[in-house]
Assembly symmetry: C2
Amino acid sequence: MARDICVCLDFLTDAHKAQIERTARSGGMNVRFFTTAQLDEAAAFGRTAEVLYSCVPKLFKQCKELKWYCCAFAGVDVYCKDPSLFPNEHCQLTNSNVYGLTIAEHVVMTALMLLRRMPAYSRQAFAHQWGKAMPIRSIHGLELVMLGTGQIGRCVAQRMRALGAAKVIGVNRSGRPAEDFDEVYPIEKLDGLLPSTEMLVMAVPGTDETAHILSRERIALLPESACVINVGRGTAVDQAALMEALNAGRLAGAALDVFTPEPLPADHPMWETKNLIITPHIAGSTSLPYTCDRNVDSFCEDLENYIAGRPLAHLVDRTLGY
Amino acid sequence: MARDICVCLDFLTDAHKAQIERTARSGGMNVRFFTTAQLDEAAAFGRTAEVLYSCVPKLFKQCKELKWYCCAFAGVDVYCKDPSLFPNEHCQLTNSNVYGLTIAEHVVMTALMLLRRMPAYSRQAFAHQWGKAMPIRSIHGLELVMLGTGQIGRCVAQRMRALGAAKVIGVNRSGRPAEDFDEVYPIEKLDGLLPSTEMLVMAVPGTDETAHILSRERIALLPESACVINVGRGTAVDQAALMEALNAGRLAGAALDVFTPEPLPADHPMWETKNLIITPHIAGSTSLPYTCDRNVDSFCEDLENYIAGRPLAHLVDRTLGY
């Protein structure tokens, strides 16, 4: 019986393919590569494949013999929320926690844009207006709260501290300590932190527990000087409440990369919300060579585990959703 | 005879004033504070003052007995280019090299905005368009060339290295080594560096030597992937050549905080130049408490020197212009 690996991704270079082939061959496995423009061919090959490395739910569903699906994205909420996507009940799911660096650079960029009043300066520049200097703030000496202490949160914390942030507070489910944070608290303590939060960065997975985790009530707890950045899932924010707070000046600014729904319709009021930076879910895009390299490294690491019969390192807990 | 210090600045807090008064009193000197809305009163008091701490050239000119003028800005090109502003021939001039932190944060912000395609994403957001992911780049692994290795250049280099830049090359007049840079070259070597420069950051003073230092010929030497950031003086860039290169796609992007003239007129073609981020000379604004604190510290340090009869630490070389 052929032990096949089906790979269906658009970002792979020849070097990536050679790396995957080398690893596959070392375990006597056979690999074929497809792009997302070749979904039918991929599905035909994948029907009897043991392993799938892709990011396309409907391809996953068609690979009936699959023992392991490595999702090339970090967020696997779509799979955890919909068990019917699983082609069989034994298939293992791993994700790719390799987006920390690029997402952290997005966070540093948008944090500085918010602190330095770029939404207002950009609007003036679009209108050909040479504006006056407005009060700005700095990452130097800033205290920030990072909701989510996974790979993304840690990469953000590292950069903020390197840029002179006074304190980076992590908040996660259990309050378990995490490297690179000055302090870590469980989610139950969040309400107590919010009234003194200048910058709230959110990178939590899309689960039932995180739905509207930044609720209307919590938005009301933030000071007027607070800025909010969300790079996780749009479901984590009460968007209507956030828009109201921004438009009323009860929050200093926000930068959202994720929304419900996506794409954001052209007539959505979000586009005209005050002091809001909108990006179209690109913080963790797969265009950065560094990210793509780590993605393939991460898959090959687990492919070696798979071949050797060891547990997979990047296994998703489907109950938790990450 | 009264030994008077005239202070005419808008950013001083009560704590700053107390700090200056304490230092003045320790040398038996008398200090009075004015804002730039009180120029006439300041000039009346300043006519017989020994020391002026301000940023208003026409006030400086009226303080006929002045022995020392501490300019609260870093750039003193206006004074060095026009000796007629000096109220007498013996007056010493110092400047305030305290803008490194805020300007470096502006550089980090705009560098990320350029590498991550924010000019295009912002334009789409203004048009309510949910755009597609575009190829981006990272500070991680980036090589950059910093023209100017003074306090601003060093603060930029520190931050870029902390964010994982592969190499920060400094370029200055003489090629003298400077802390925080991987390599430093004299200006004569710049042309040899440009063809492989991905990111050129400019923070040079406005002097005859730096006028159009980024000339049409040098812009042509940069690769198509290069981005240019200027936070020094608008005179340093051949603006017409830069606009042409950006509009023709011969450069990936630019972020300019300084221009000729300032303010940039509403009908200037700069506003509509492709992949250009325009800010109205605010990178080094005096709104950041940290910057204001360092400004007053720097003045008081030299006030102690002045009182003790020691040489001033922040003396400007009027021939060099900085």
